[in-house]
């Protein structure tokens, strides 16, 4: 058979040479042939990882990038084992078991303790821990505590090595409570390094950082045959054999990680948020991309019921939901992703899938990790951090796979008005996303294979967007670099706060310098210390250049300059004991704390900071040279991580609920900062004076934390920049190295509203401004409507960029007039709030509205978890504020009057006054009252109230006189003006028609189909209400135009 086919093919080629054919036929044949070669019948062959030859443990070294690690107790030896999950450069998956590393902690030896007391101590401690044989050994070693200066003397410590990390806490508690043994009664002591997680302890001791490369030399490891492992390479190694490559040079590379981005759709019931016990999962779309490549190489969607083919996508139909779920879990195991991403996957998609699989009895579903004997489960976690706030979420374990829920990343790293996928995409990808209301999802699913296909496309898009977001924002690379810089495992970055990163670095440095770190109990005291200083702002609008002088990395450089550290902290008794001399051996900080000078001992924190900042300098220098965009991204991520890390050290010392708070350090840092800002002000104001030959006397108009704003009085940018540079140089000489005052930018003009509230045009070069910079002018707050943001923004631009204060006032008045006359687009007035629970203690506008909408139409009403969009409408006297919220669409359809006063008084007025007061003073109030606020237009509602009794009379379009019988458009007196009035009306309608066309064709484009109706109901989309409104207006407009028909 095959031979025959072969010959026919040959013959055909031969024939084509004989007869002249149109050129496209040749193309055609070519196509057919290449296609035959590349045609993929079953796209699932692409799923597995590249094949991997069995390693020869004797001759082959194994090199891989570890991305995650966990620990377990080896059942046979009862010792802990660290399990690394990683990827080789060829893209093969690795699980590496590291054995032999035992947990330990320190305790200072009791006075009079001798070597021969060790066995007794050991027994006593084991008894206290209530586990026989739990302590492997106790060694006697000389160490120095990190906390405070002790003359550089080392004192004897007992290093207690245990078998099981879980027993450390018990041992620690026992010693802190007091234990008695041979001749020692109630020996009570603080323990050291007993509060460090085993995994981190191991990584620190082995010099392994997060996500770095690990090498196991040939002959150092053994292959394993683990039946429970999905990895291609399974090895075991003793911890002493591991070579850990620091992420530098070539080892900065990132393995070809497989990233799975997915999204699910559920068929909910009308008006009810999907519940896993009842509502089925109907589609699961997945995209798999190899890190560093631009396009996903696997694109598929699993659909319950049939689904039409989607170009370039592997569509899989299932007749039963449990089969689909099982297939998806098989898919995940087969593809074996290293990173799993999505949008709100942690709190929705994964829990839903797991609950649903449980409900349907899909037994093999909840094994999504690399280990097929560990069940994937949902746990509730509470995450609370000073920097990120409190957050409740769910966590899902998937051994060996990193999880990056892009929603959590967004909430952590960016302050946005809204975190819906739609608005996040609009923000970062610059595109709107079609949003299908969940009531329609069920309809589409229950339709035919075409409607399901439509839904599948939507689902695929949602699966792809997180990947694109991640690529755009470089999250993965930045997180990997952060893990490398700070040395913590990758998953700590999302699950833990800032402190752990400093802890990791501190322990690493302490190990290197032979210090031990006490395990202090967090007191959780509300001890407050004085923060940064603020020079009282001289509020106003400055139409001259204002130079800004910044201290570069202020707090880190203070710590470095004054050698502030745990290891250099002096107590009065130590000073006495070692006869230390003030200003020779030690300094007293403005906070009256004493620290040893660098020449006596360089502090650990200054060393860490120096390392970080030097590394940042190197990264930035490399970044300048590097041309490869991917390597640039890594370097940029690194320098950012280094900067953040350096800045977080200060916060660590000040965190009272922390691992090792030391308020002497943090208070001294801020005290130095305050002094320096004051000093800078003095220096600048005393140096740059008319007496000293300058044209003007400089004036510091504002200063905060690490920067001062100076008005040199000069008129041009060049002069201001020149003086700024000079001032920075002069002031820098007055401070210890490496403190450096830098001249960075000039604000011109500058609007100083209040402390931490200002705006200005930002210049670093005299020829062109860089941007408009605003601080503390809150336009992103969610409970503001868009109008506030756009008005404030435009005003600032007019004032700062166009330097047109009058124009800004005119604009403001016009907007207020438009608002009061009901001419502002509805989308601008919409306020949104999430409906997170229904039983708020107090009645809330959005909850009440959701209830009312449910009564109107349960199907389209917002369900729990949805965001409710509303506008404030005019209510009768005494109507409660929460009853004045209304659905924008309802408002449009029924011409319900908007409470424009509310928007003026409660939304616009405060922010407007804030920016205009520094300019206009008392007169600013005039913006809010006056002529432009006198004309008010209220739409006539078509429902409710008196409207039932009202009779509508047509009026003349010229003079508004009621029309007589036989007159359709104008009255007899206005007859002459009819052509003009007609054209006027025609113009209005034309404007609306263009709007209609542009809006609806845009939606048609956005949804990616010309032939299907637009279904999108994305309330975040700026044109959503517009397009609805224009439909209505145009209908009214043409009706009016039609009145001219008989004229």
């Amino acid at each position: 058979m095959s031979q025959e086919a072969h010959t026919t093919k040959k013959r055909r080629i031969h024939a084509s040479q004989l007869e002249p054919q149109p050129s496209f036929l040749e193309d055609l044949e070519q196509l057919q042939e290449t296609n035959q070669a590349t045609k993929v019948d079953d796209p699932s062959v692409l799923w597995s990882r590249p094949t991997c030859n069995k390693l020869n443990a004797v001759t082959d070294a194994l090199v891989f990038q570890q991305i995650e690690a966990d620990e377990y107790m080896d059942a046979a030896s009862h010792t802990p084992v660290v399990r690394f999950y990683g990827i080789t450069e060829a893209g093969n998956s690795v699980i590496c078991h590291v054995t032999g590393f035992l947990p330990y902690f320190y305790v200072p030896t009791p006075i009079g303790f001798k070597l021969e007391n060790i066995p007794a101590f050991k027994t006593a401690l084991e008894t206290a821990v209530e586990k026989g044989n739990s302590i492997v050994r106790i060694d006697w070693s000389f160490k120095e505590s990190i906390y405070g200066y002790h003359g550089g003397e080392k004192i004897p410590f007992l290093k207690i090595t245990l078998k099981d990390p879980r027993n450390i806490a018990a041992a620690k508690r026992a010693i802190e409570r007091g234990i008695s043994f041979a001749g020692f009664t109630d020996f009570t002591e603080q323990t050291y390094e007993s509060n460090l997680a085993y995994l981190l302890r191991f990584m620190i001791d082995c010099h392994i950082t997060g996500a770095n490369w690990i090498e196991l030399p040939a002959g150092s490891y053994q292959n394993r045959n683990d039946s429970n492992s999905n990895a291609q390479i399974n090895v075991q190694v003793n911890y002493e054999k591991i070579i850990s490559h620091q992420p530098e040079g070539d080892w900065s590379k990132i393995a070809p990680l497989r990233i799975l981005s997915f999204d699910i759709e559920c068929a909910g019931r009308k008006g009810i948020f999907p519940e896993a016990k009842i509502d089925p999962v109907i589609q699961i779309a997945s995209m798999v991309t190899v890190q560093g490549e631009s396009k996903p190489f696997i694109r598929n969607v699993m659909v319950l019921n049939t689904c039409s083919h989607i170009v370039g996508t592997h569509t899989m139909s299932f007749d039963q939901e449990d089969k689909m779920l099982a297939a998806w879990s098989d898919f995940v195991r087969k593809v074996d992703p290293d990173v799993v991403i999505g949008y709100n996957t942690a709190n929705f998609d994964f829990p839903y899938l797991l609950d649903r699989a449980k409900h349907l009895g899909v037994l093999k579903f909840p094994f999504l990790g690399r280990l097929n004997d560990i069940r994937t489960e949902i746990k509730d976690t509470k995450f609370s951090s000073k920097a990120y706030g409190n957050r409740e979420s769910k966590s899902i374990n998937m051994e060996g796979r990193l999880q990056l829920d892009m929603l959590q990343v967004m909430q952590r790293d960016y302050k946005l008005r809204s975190y819906t996928l739609n608005s996040v995409c609009a923000e970062f990808l610059g595109e709107q996303k079609e949003d299908v209301h969940h009531s329609i999802i069920t309809e589409l699913q229950n339709g035919n294979e075409e409607t399901r296909r439509r839904l599948a496309i939507y689902c695929l898009k949602d699966a792809y967007l997180p990947q694109r977001l991640m690529d755009k924002l470089m999250c993965l690379i930045n997180y990997i670099e952060m893990a490398r810089v700070t040395g913590v495992p990758f998953n700590y970055l999302l699950a833990r706060g800032q402190q752990i990163k400093v802890v990791s670095q501190l322990f690493r440095k302490a190990l290197e310098k032979d210090f031990v770190i006490p395990a202090v109990h967090s007191q959780g005291g509300e001890e407050q210390y004085e923060g940064a200083t603020v020079i009282e702002p001289r509020r106003g609008y400055y139409d001259v250049p204002i130079a800004t002088l910044d201290f570069a990395s202020l707090y880190p450089s203070i710590m470095m300059a004054h050698n502030l550290c745990y290891t250099t902290l002096l107590s009065p008794s130590t000073i006495q004991k070692f006869n230390l001399v003030k200003d020779v051996d030690y300094v007293v900080t403005p906070n009256n704390d004493s620290f040893l000078m660098e020449k006596k001992r360089k502090g650990l924190l200054p060393i860490i900071l120096t390392d970080l900042l030097d590394a940042r300098k190197r990264a930035k220098a490399d970044l300048k040279k590097e041309t490869d965009p991917f390597k640039r991204a890594v370097l940029d991520g690194r320098q950012l991580a280094l900067k953040i890390s350096a800045n977080s050290v200060y916060g660590f010392t000040g965190a009272t609920v922390g691992k090792l708070p030391c308020l002497q350090i943090s208070s001294s840092v801020t005290a130095y900062g305050r002094v320096m800002i004051e000093r800078t002000k003095q220096e600048v104001e005393s140096t740059f004076t008319v007496e000293n030959g300058y044209t003007h006397t400089a004036e510091v108009i504002y200063g905060d934390t690490d920067s001062v704003m100076v008005k040199f009085g000069v008129k041009t940018l060049e002069e201001a920049m020149e003086l700024g540079r000079k001032a920075a140089e002069i002031v820098t000489t007055k401070f210890e190295k490496p403190i450096k005052l830098e001249f960075e930018k000039v604000y011109f003009p500058y609007l100083l509203i209040n402390k931490k509230r200002y705006a200005g045009l930002y210049w670093t070069r005299p020829d062109k401004y860089d941007k408009m910079d605003t601080k503390g002018i809150e336009t992103v707050r969610r409970d503001n409507c868009r109008l506030v943001q756009s008005v404030i923004d435009t005003c600032l631009r007019k004032i700062l960029i166009d330097r047109d204060v009058i124009g800004a006032q005119e604009y403001t008045k016009q907007i207020i007039a438009d608002l009061l006359q009901n001419k502002v687009d509805m989308a601008q007035l919409v306020i949104t709030k999430q409906l997170s629970k229904t039983d708020y203690a107090n009645k809330q506008a959005h909850v009440e509205l959701a209830e009312r909408m449910k009564q109107r139409d349960a199907g389209s009403a917002p369900a729990l978890g949805d965001r409710v969009a509303y506008v404030i409408i005019k209510g009768g006297k005494g109507m409660a504020a929460y009853d004045k919220s209304e659905d924008p669409l309802w408002v449009l359809e029924n011409n319900i009057p908007i409470d424009t006063r509310y928007y003026l008084d409660n939304q616009l007025s405060k922010p407007l006054l804030r920016i205009f007061e520094p300019i206009l003073g008392e007169k600013a109030e005039s913006l809010l009252a006056g002529d432009h606020t006198r004309t008010i237009q209220v739409s006539t509602p078509s429902v409710g109230g008196l409207m039932k009794f009202a009779v509508r009379t047509a009026t003349c379009l010229g003079c508004k006189t009621p029309l007589k019988k036989g007159e359709s458009a104008v009255c007899a007196n206005c007859k002459e003006r009819a052509p003009e009035l007609y054209q006027k009306q025609q113009n209005i309608v034309n404007g609306l028609e263009v709007r209609f066309s542009r809006l609806w064709t845009q939606c048609q484009r956005c949804q990616g189909s010309l032939h299907q109706e637009v279904l999108c109901t994305s309330k975040d989309c700026p044109i959503f209400y517009m397009r609805k409104k224009v439909q209505k207006e145009i209908q009214d407009g043409t009706a009016t135009l039609d009145r001219f028909v008989d004229w």
């Binding site: 039409s308 989607i310 170009v311 009819a978 006027k984 263009v994 609806w1000 010309l1010 001219f1044």
Partner: protein, 451 residues
């Protein structure tokens, strides 16, 4: 001298009612509840059989055999097949109302570009089932615009794109035999005028007077007058009046909440006079154009006769739609005031407007870019822009220069394409011979011509 001017009579011609062809352009009650999907749907429904017939004719005899795939999504990778669907051009520079709204409005709005093309543009073929990206030299070397219904031959490559090796269109529609016989009499003509531009910057009253006198036979020698007497109809293809932007009355202090704009009606009056003069001796079909006081979306509805109080009395005056179908002595004409070509111009590389007009004839669709980029009424039950007949004369007003071409269809259909320049900027009108379909220009320019 030879003939007494007073005895010279204007020739007459019959006009025929083209029924739905004409009526389709009239929108009686405007309804805006529907979306544009219906229009695309109707277009595809109506044109798909036409294109398919051509495709079968062209490709069914191929070896290797090409298979017709009814639904675009059913196309199988690697299988040589052909599809019929609507073109969608994905162009990043295409004006986007979302950008206009969300972009910080302080950045000077993007200057109006003459063209919105970019190297990253991609082309898709779509039907109800979905769309597929088209690739291949045949695609990149030709030009297409959104909304054209056409067939493509090729196969899907592994990346899911459809590599095209040949394309086909509906081609010219059927045509009634053009049967005007040669007679002893001189040939009749129709005059095509566009862009009088009254009230605009280029408006020259003298040229308008000359035109009026020419059309009414008041100037020139006997030859001109004879020529004129042979003109049986004048079609004015839009942009007769330039409506100046409403003037804000600055004399009064700014008052919030009142529309103080007034419309200048002088140009309309001048136009009314002009029409009245010409109508006294000849039939005029008046089409609205972009700048005229009419609806802005196509098809533009007839200019309200009440705006032209003197002219409306004449039975020779016909206010018609734009685009507009007409028939004079059984010669069919289809004309537009130019927006259709102006819009296509923005989305293709070519600068040759005549070529674009010829393309629309081949596509059998005069306004494919409506509604995507050309504002258009959201039709629910029809697509009036399909050229279901091949007109004998197809003219497009308000073009930058005069150009003409005869295109011949597969079944011998002949269509005279006339790119009609704007009168106010060129002083030129065109005359088309109803028998030979030949076309010539008459110039009234009072400024020195460049040649």
């Amino acid at each position: 001298m030879e003939t007494d001017p007073a005895t010279m009579n204007r020739r007459t011609a019959t006009t025929e009612d083209l029924g739905t062809l004409q009526e389709n352009f009239v929108v009686k009650t405007r309804d805006y509840k529907q979306q544009y999907a219906h229009l695309y749907y109707m277009r595809l429904m109506l044109m798909q059989p036409l294109v398919l017939a051509q495709a079968k004719r062209k490709w069914d005899s191929l070896d290797p055999k090409a298979k017709y795939v009814e639904k675009i999504l059913d196309v199988q990778q690697g299988e040589i097949s052909y599809l019929v669907g609507t073109i969608y051009m994905d162009m990043k520079l295409k004006p986007n109302i979302l950008d206009d709204i969300t972009k910080d409005h302080w950045i000077a709005a993007q200057p109006d570009r003459p063209k919105y093309i970019d190297d990253t543009d991609s082309i898709y073929l779509e039907d109800e089932s979905g769309r597929v990206k088209l690739t291949g030299a045949k695609i990149t070397n030709d030009f297409f615009v959104t909304g054209v219904v056409m067939g493509v031959l090729g196969s899907e490559d592994p990346s899911g794109d459809f590599k095209v090796v040949d394309v086909c269109y509906a081609g010219q529609g059927p045509q009634e035999q053009h049967s005007l016989m040669e007679t002893d009499e001189e040939d009749k003509h129709i005059a095509l005028v566009s862009g009088l531009g009254i009230g605009g910057n280029d408006f020259k009253p003298l040229e308008l007077d000359l035109l009026s006198e020419y059309l009414t036979g008041e100037i020139g020698g006997v030859r001109e007058q004879t020529n004129c007497a042979n003109i049986v109809r004048v079609v004015i293809a839009g942009n007769s009046i330039v409506t100046p932007p409403p003037v804000e009355d600055d004399s009064k202090a700014k008052k919030y909440g009142y529309d103080r704009s007034t419309f200048v009606t002088a140009p309309t009056m001048i136009f009314d006079n002009f029409l009245q003069e010409v109508c006294s001796s000849i039939d005029i079909d008046l089409m609205p154009g972009e700048s005229d006081p009419s609806s802005v979306t196509i098809p533009q509805q007839p200019i309200h006769p009440a705006l032209l109080p003197s002219t409306r009395q004449y039975s020779t005056f016909h206010s018609v739609t734009n685009p507009y179908w007409g028939s004079v002595d059984h010669v069919t004409l289809l004309g537009g005031s130019g927006q259709t070509i102006d819009d296509i111009y923005k989305y293709v590389k070519s600068d040759n407007r005549l070529e674009m007009a010829a393309k629309t004839v081949g596509w059998r669709h005069m306004a494919p870019t409506a509604p995507d980029t050309l504002w258009c009424y959201p039709f629910k039950d029809r697509d009036p822009f399909i050229m279901s007949q091949a007109p004998h004369i197809y003219f497009l007003g308000n073009q930058d220069k005069f150009a003409t071409e005869m295109v011949t269809g597969a079944d011998g259909q002949r269509t005279r394409i006339v790119m009609l320049p704007s009168f106010s900027s060129t002083g030129t009108i065109a005359l088309v011979n109803l028998r030979t379909l030949e076309c010539k220009t008459v110039s009234f320019s009072t400024t020195k011509s460049k040649n």
